[in-house]
């Protein structure tokens, strides 16, 4: 028997590994769950749960002795979809509500509100729960907006039809905009987690079940094992990506203004980087538990915090800003946001894509160097 040519036997080994991995994916639901169920759950959770803009702000309204302007202002607050109003008899009761965190702010009118309004120096006191500074500012803005709207309507002698004043639009669209802006970033974060978890968990599983030892004892090469892991999970991860994008567009109504080609290209590069990172993790974590923890702490958290998806990179200290350059999610977030909201801006894609290719190459090199065909 003549020995088979090396390239032929390498192909056969890779084919065997791919076939095996594919059968395992079909029969063990855990990787399918990571690729498809995880993005759905996370998108639901963050898509509906995370919004930078509070809705239905609960405020206490301290109404003075009944007068036409005071009643009308109270009515405007109550009619606004952005407030849920509790009427309080005096400021002490309102404070109690604030202390118990049942309301986020107090709007208080003095007894002489009507008279002072006519003379032009009426005072409206606004107390906001400042524990969450971000929310406090937004509540402040809402109250101001509502007040301005009431004043404008009063000047015309009738309550204004909603949405006529330009100011309103800024406030009200802010909520819608933030979700359009958040979800593309969120897809990037979810793909980071999925990519890193898929490969690190399945490699750790082989260690845990002792199959890695048996694989290593055959003439297989490390790079063949790596290809056997990358290819199937690339396809699975891209499937997850498709699900997430479809949800963004059809469920959350995020506009998609770029091209499918750009999406496939950028997310393909990014998926390779994330999977390669998972392989690098698996070189040091040989149990699924450790692999999962490491993937979450070292891939998901930095991506979440340092990618600019939720916290603006420009407002970070310069040292942290430097650090964000080595977070691959940063480039993908930027490209995805552009792709969804703006369209194909190839200058952005080229810059981000080049950075991602570089990072993917580095991760692959680390994974390749750190994985040895040894049980040491």
């Amino acid at each position: 028997m003549t020995p088979p040519r090396p390239s032929g036997s390498a192909r056969r080994r890779i084919r065997g590994l791919l076939r095996k991995e594919w059968l395992e994916i079909l029969r063990d639901p855990s990787s399918i769950a990571i690729a498809f169920v995880l993005p759905v759950i996370l998108l639901f959770l963050f898509g509906y749960g995370v919004s930078l803009d509070p809705r239905e702000v609960r405020i206490a309204f301290v109404k003075p002795i009944s007068s036409q302007p005071a009643d009308s202002l109270a009515e405007t607050f109550r009619g606004s979809p952005y407030f849920r109003v509790e009427f309080a008899a005096d400021i002490a009761t309102a404070r109690e509500l604030l202390d118990r965190r049942e309301v986020q702010g107090i709007v208080s009118l003095r007894d002489d509100f009507a008279q002072r309004l006519d003379s032009g120096d009426a005072v409206v006191q606004l107390v906001v729960d400042g524990v969450d500074a971000n929310t406090a500012r937004i509540v402040q803005g809402y109250v101001r907006g509502t007040f301005a709207r009431w004043l404008a309507g009063r000047d015309r002698g009738s309550p204004p039809p909603p949405g006529l004043v330009i100011e309103h639009r800024m406030w009200f669209n802010a909520e819608v905009n933030s979700r359009h802006f958040l979800i593309p970033g969120l897809i990037a974060i979810i793909m980071t987690l999925i990519g890193a978890m898929l490969t690190s968990l399945v490699v750790a599983r082989e260690w845990e079940r002792g199959t890695m030892e048996a694989l290593f004892a055959t003439p297989v090469r490390i790079r063949e094992i790596m290809i056997g892991k990358l290819v199937p999970y690339f396809l699975l991860g891209m499937g997850g990506m498709a699900v997430a994008t479809a949800m963004a567009v059809f469920l959350f109504g995020v506009p998609f203004r770029g091209s499918l080609a750009a999406l496939l290209l950028l997310s393909g590069i990014y998926m390779v980087a994330a999977l390669a990172y998972g392989l690098a993790v698996s070189a040091l974590a040989r149990s699924q538990f450790v692999a999962g923890q490491v993937a979450i702490i070292t891939a998901f958290l930095p991506a979440f915090i340092l990618s600019g998806f939720i916290f603006d990179i420009r407002s970070m200290p310069w040292a942290i800003q430097l650090l964000t350059h080595i977070i691959p999610a940063r480039y993908f977030v930027s490209s995805l946001q552009t792709m969804f909201l703006v369209g194909d801006v190839w200058e952005v894609f080229a810059r981000d894509g080049a950075a991602l290719v570089l990072i993917a190459a580095v991760f692959l090199a680390i994974a390749r160097r750190r994985t040895h065909k040894s049980l040491e």
Binding site: G16, R19, K20, R209, E213, A214, L375
Partner: protein, 581 residues
């Protein structure tokens, strides 16, 4: 002719929590081609490390490993292309079918065309797995899994076959089938290295390597190794009821090398031939005939010379904590099991078993992995509620009053289940607290236990770093701290060397004589000889209950060739399978 394996001064170390563990120390030997070699030694002796070195999966710190003329340091892949390796954990994919597993390894070994088809057919036929090619590996029985793993290692007829404890945990029938499988598929065509914890298995190899603490303490043909013991091994027949006292008496004699229970008699190895005459005159000895020495005798002799360790000679003298229980109490039934069933989903782990155990008995539960031994144990300890049937321990119904029963039992789990980061002293104190021992009784029990089990020497070391035999003593000491009426021991001797096994059994026998009832599981069939009565379990059902001799007698009625308990087990299994078919 090139040697199949050559080791020259090989040392392999591992970094541990504290310092460095030397797994193999300056090991040198050569294996001739086409030789069938047995590798024996207790857990931690270095068997697996040696296998991995030979498969090129580990590299030595010092020395050189040459396999089939290739240095594993330079040519690991070339070695791997010509070696078949069956790791201890098999390396089967549970979610893949029998055929898919074999196809994968055929791909990895580059088998193609007609040869591939031919070889797959041959392996499936030889392993008798042909009817199950579409069954997932995870759904095969223990014996079938092992055969499949062996088939995968043998796919590309290797020049060197490495089998790391292929027969551990399977029933004796499957063990025999595995042995035949290897002979059939690779015998005479490959050098075979078969590692095992069973000395009787190694004895059938052409050559035996005995490893102890990383060193080769014996190497040669079994006949050579036992030659020195020729004429010093006897079968001692005893008068009725005097076997146990006689055993203790013989063990304490300075000229005794070893004494064990076997097939209703005792097996005695003496240091000098002359001592035999003296023994013949001892009261209770009915007769003595010389028998052929076994490999185990040789290993015990060697271990006693080389280690002389504190695990070796049991503290046989130590008086039992309590005076022996009166005779009539020995008759009282303390465990009663009837139609006991435990179901996990669709799987009947225990399927209607029944037996009784009397006070002061040593009752053995025997069977391969997955037979239902541990499940039965957990139910009797009140750790797992039975699905149906009756289980009474000391009169308490386990369906209703499991916690009340638990206060009177001690349990030693199969794995070391104390706190590895605490010292033995801290573990003992914690156990005392857990049992609610206080005051004078606490002090008395702690002092007595430490003395009885000889724990003083290492009381303040971290438990993690203790030798395996010492860990086992500590586990048993903790299980006995509360003076339980019944002691449950789950595989107490798996993985320890023959000397430590003997010491352990001496302790168990002493406890039983003090009135403690002992329930024990084991997969060493020779150990069952120490038991008063045994129950053999297979796939959740009882194959037989009775005294070891009684079971052998019963099996002999159908299969006249039955000589020992292992033969009896195999005969019972074959009969059961015939009935099922």
């Amino acid at each position: 002719m090139t040697a199949a394996v050559r080791l020259e001064g090989v040392t392999k170390r591992f970094r541990a929590d504290r310092g460095v563990i030397e797994a193999l120390a300056e090991l040198s030997f050569t294996l001739e081609p086409l030789c069938f070699v047995g590798l024996v030694g207790p857990d931690g002796a270095g068997k697996t490390t040696l296998m991995r070195l030979l498969a090129g999966l580990l590299l030595p710190e010092e020395g050189r490993v040459t396999v089939l003329g290739l240095d594993t340091r330079d040519a690991a892949r070339a070695v791997q292309a010509r070696v078949g390796y069956m790791p201890q954990r098999f390396g089967l994919y549970d979610d893949l079918s029998v055929r898919e597993n074999l196809e994968l390894y055929a791909d990895l070994h580059g088998l193609e065309g007609e040869l591939r088809r031919e070889r797959l057919r041959e392996i499936l036929q030889a392993t008798e797995l042909a009817p199950f090619t579409d069954r997932f590996a995870g759904r095969l029985s223990g014996g079938m899994r092992q055969k499949l793993a062996m088939g995968a290692a043998l796919l590309k007829t290797p020049e060197l076959l490495l089998l790391d404890e292929p027969s551990v945990g399977v029933d004796p029938l499957s063990r025999r089938e595995l042995w035949q499988l290897v002979q059939h598929l690779a015998g005479g065509r490959a050098t075979i290295l078969w590692s095992t914890a069973y000395l009787d298995e190694a004895e059938r190899c052409e050559r035996v390597l005995v490893l102890q603490e990383g060193r080769l303490i014996a190497d040669g043909r079994p006949a050579e190794l036992t030659r020195g013991l020729e004429g010093r091994v006897f079968r001692v027949r005893t008068a009725r009821g005097s076997r146990r006292p006689l055993m203790r008496l013989l063990r304490d004699r300075p000229d005794t090398l070893d004494v064990t229970a076997v097939g209703g008699a005792l097996r005695l190895v003496v240091k000098e031939k002359e001592a035999a005459e003296e023994v013949r005159g001892i009261e209770g000895v009915r007769g003595m005939e010389p028998v052929a020495p076994r490999l185990e005798d040789a290993v015990v002799a060697l271990l006693q010379q080389t280690t002389g360790n504190e695990d070796g000679r049991p503290a046989t003298g130590g008086p039992p904590a309590d005076p022996p229980a009166p005779r009539r109490e020995m008759r009282e039934v303390v465990i009663r099991v009837r139609d006991l069933v435990r179901v996990f989903g669709k799987f009947r782990a225990v399927d209607g078993i029944g037996f009784e155990v009397r006070r002061g008995e040593i009752f053995g539960l025997l069977g391969p992995n997955g037979a239902g031994k541990s499940t039965t144990f957990k139910m009797l300890c009140g750790l797992l509620p039975p699905s149906s049937g009756e289980a009474r321990v000391l009169g308490y119904d386990l369906l209703r009053a499991a916690p009340a029963a638990r206060a009177h039992i001690g349990y030693m789990a199969q794995k070391f289940s104390l706190y590895a980061d605490l010292t033995p002293r801290q573990n003992l104190l914690f156990t005392a607290d857990a049992y609610g021992l206080t005051g004078a009784r606490r002090r008395r029990r702690l002092a007595a236990t430490i003395a009885e089990f000889g724990l003083e020497a290492m009381l303040d070391q971290r438990s993690r770093d203790l030798p395996l035999g010492y860990k086992q003593r500590l586990s048993m000491a903790c299980a006995l701290l509360n003076e339980p009426e019944i002691l449950f021991l789950d595989e107490p001797t798996s993985g320890v060397d023959p000397l430590a096994r003997r010491a352990f059994w001496a302790r168990i026998v002493a406890l039983a004589e003090a009135g403690v009832t002992v329930m024990v599981t084991t997969h060493f069939l020779d150990e069952a000889e120490y038991c008063d009565r045994i129950a053999i379990l297979e796939r959740g059902r009882l194959l037989g209950v009775g005294t070891p001799d009684g079971i052998i007698e019963a099996a002999r009625r159908n299969a006249p060739g039955v000589a020992n308990l292992e033969d009896a087990f195999v005969a019972l299994l074959e009969e059961r399978r015939k009935q099922a078919a």
